[in-house]
């Protein structure tokens, strides 16, 4: 039980098998993983190695075939749908590779969106959203719609939204995949900054070597198995 409080994420013997017609695709096989609080962890591996599957399972967007997954002390593999939605709303921030934002809402409204669902009062959420947008370097662009922002700016809004309500965990699936290397590097610096400034655990995936170098812990996946777990610096 002690581990649970130390670790934001705990996986025990997690496997995921997709069945396509008669063929079983073993996307993840017997994964054991502890992610301590405030960790800044990278999932790496070639395309198809199971990075997205792992992130989706941790985020409760999909369920494991077998095994236990605990996030912030809650068994996400067992939670009913409604509870899972609540867990995501309050404890987990997501950053996807693209199309993270709601097109009809402005940057600041996208950031406020989650807080609005949480029921945070208008004035408070406006202030927090302005604050975090400044922190991610988007001051002055608050009222732009996603279509009026560059890819890098959109990802920054997504990061701002993921972090603004101080979740326990941020999951970012290839957040830099659609960005040029300079923009990708800036975004990673932002993530590092967020990880140190806010009390949040980060798990992100990439197959870009330079992006991996920002991590403090690098996990290599191959064919759905962890083949390497490396602490850095």
């Amino acid at each position: 039980m002690e581990r649970m409080t130390d670790n934001t994420v705990v996986l025990r013997n997690v496997s995921k098998v997709y069945r396509q017609n008669a063929i079983a695709v073993h996307a993840l096989t017997e994964i054991d993983l502890d992610v301590p609080r405030k960790d800044f962890m990278c999932l790496s591996g070639p395309s198809g190695s199971g990075k997205s599957t792992l992130l989706n399972l941790i985020g409760g967007l999909d369920r494991p075939t077998t095994g236990e997954i605990t996030v912030d002390g809650q068994r996400v593999d067992q939670l009913p749908k409604g509870e899972l939605a609540r867990l995501r709303l309050h404890k987990i921030g997501f950053v996807f590779q693209a199309y993270n934002l709601i097109p009809v809402l402005t940057a600041i409204e996208n950031v406020e969106f989650v807080m609005q669902l949480q029921g945070v009062a208008t004035a408070e959420r406006r202030e927090k959203a302005l604050q975090i947008l400044m922190e991610v370097g988007l001051e002055g662009l608050e009222s732009r719609r996603p279509g009026e922002l560059s890819g890098g700016q959109q990802q920054r809004v997504a990061v701002a939204r993921a972090i603004v309500s101080e979740p326990s965990l941020v999951l970012a699936d290839e957040p830099t995949a659609n960005l040029d290397s300079k923009t990708a590097e800036n975004l990673m610096q932002l993530l590092v900054h967020m990880n140190t400034e806010h009390n949040v655990t980060f798990i992100f995936s990439t197959h870009d070597k330079r992006v991996m170098d920002f991590s403090r812990r690098l996990i290599k996946l191959r064919d759905g198995r962890i083949v390497e777990d490396e602490r850095r610096q």
Partner: protein, 409 residues
């Protein structure tokens, strides 16, 4: 849910602006449907009202009193005595606005050239004013001056048919109280116009005393017709009259003219069918539009789910979108219908399309009549059933979106 309402409203509203053309098209279709529902209701209600008023004005009145048997066989044998003291008092009750006693028997009218079967009506000219059409229908010559007037009023159409004219003499024959044919010559003192035209050939009018004398009726009558204040609230005068004259046949217009009540029912059925057709078309368009919007936003709904938005909010968002569409369409459609009714306040003349209809008592000029009931019914139907129909697309949106839909680039 309440907390999220401004958010849902914002999302729904802005999403409607995403495809202006499509939103405008569905709004137009919905508004057109509502317009057609309300406008058609006003027109058919107006037409019905016109028919009712005309029928009531064409001698029926609100309540008729006869001797028993007259309505089955309107012959001179089924005559009734002049009102006794009790009935006369009851007829002075404030609930009776106007009343008149009439002689009304089958007769044959003949000119030098032609003859025709008609109903001979003996009237008290002053009392018919405000009671039936004849008080104001004479357009050539003069109206009758007293019950003892020896002139005759002839419908324009009948005058043509008899090839006679104002100032000429005609002979009227009818069975008298002794079962003998009584006849009498009359001078045509007035020509009347009436709608429907059938009235012009159906009735000829003479002074009541003259008719009574011609047929040997003394002071007996064929019918008493009266008007109250509201044709739909006749229970009180009916029961008063029936109490004082239990031996007489006293019936409201709904019984005397069962066809009118039937027409009203038919109009209601036609309206309901029309509402159903229009609504089916409207909801089909609405559901299609919403489904299109939902399908192209699958990724967004997936994103909502990933971010922890409860499915009921997603459902709510689509319903709010539908509600906004419906509300705007209702406003436009109703305003359009109001404008139409206002534009047609001087009557919609269908005579070009409706020759012959007139003969059967359907006026070719319709004065639209908006009824609160019809408008409420159309609006409620569209709003409530529209929302119910939107539940399906909303449910499609709120269903679990496979994770690939969100993460696929």
């Amino acid at each position: 849910m309440l907390r999220a309402q401004p958010l849902l409203l914002t999302l729904a509203w802005r999403n409607l602006w995403r495809h202006r053309g499509r939103t405008a098209a569905i709004l137009f279709a919905l508004a057109l449907g509502i317009w057609s529902m309300v406008a058609l209701a006003a027109l058919s209600r107006g037409s019905l009202e016109g028919q009712l008023q005309k029928a009531i004005g064409n001698l029926t009145g609100h309540i008729q009193i006869h001797a028993r048997g007259y309505r089955d066989d309107p012959a001179i044998d089924h005559r009734m005595p002049a009102p006794d003291a009790a009935l006369a008092t009851a007829l002075t009750d404030p609930s009776v606005r106007v009343w008149a006693g009439r002689v009304r028997v089958p007769a044959v009218i003949a000119s030098e050239r032609e003859s025709a079967g008609v109903t001979l009506v003996g009237i008290e000219p002053q009392r018919e004013q405000g009671l039936s059409f004849i008080g104001t229908a004479v357009t050539d010559g003069r109206y009758l001056e007293s019950p003892g007037d020896t002139g005759l009023l002839l419908g324009r159409k009948l005058a043509e048919r008899l090839e006679t004219a104002l100032g000429r003499r005609v002979v009227v024959m009818s069975q008298d109280v002794k079962n003998q044919v009584g006849d009498r010559g009359f001078r045509v003192v007035g020509i009347f116009d009436a709608e429907p035209e059938a009235i012009e050939t159906a009735f000829v009018f003479v002074g009541r005393a003259t008719a009574q004398e011609m047929l040997g009726m003394g002071d007996t009558l064929s019918e008493i017709s009266l008007r109250s204040d509201d044709r739909n609230r006749l229970e009180v005068p009916l029961s008063t009259l029936r109490t004082v004259a239990p031996s007489l046949d006293i019936e409201p217009w709904t019984v005397v003219e069962p066809l009118l009540t039937l027409t009203e029912k038919i109009v209601n059925v036609i309206l309901v069918i029309w509402y159903a057709i229009v609504f089916a078309a409207m909801s089909f368009g609405l559901v299609n539009t919403l489904l299109m919007a939902v399908f192209e936003r699958t990724r967004e709904f997936g994103l909502f789910q990933a971010l922890g938005m409860p499915p009921r909010h997603i459902l709510g968002q689509v319903l709010v979108e539908s509600l906004i569409l419906l509300a705007i369409a209702l406003v436009i459609g109703n305003l359009g219908a109001l404008a139409t009714v206002h534009a047609l306040r001087d009557g919609l003349d269908l005579s070009a399309f409706a020759e012959g209809m007139e003969y059967f008592g359907v006026s070719p000029i319709i004065y639209p009549a908006l009824s609160v009931g019809d408008v409420t019914m159309a609006n409620t139907l569209v709003a409530v059933l529209g929302l119910v129909a939107s539940l399906y697309p909303a449910w499609r949106a709120a269903r679990h979106v496979p994770i690939e839909a969100i993460t696929r680039v």
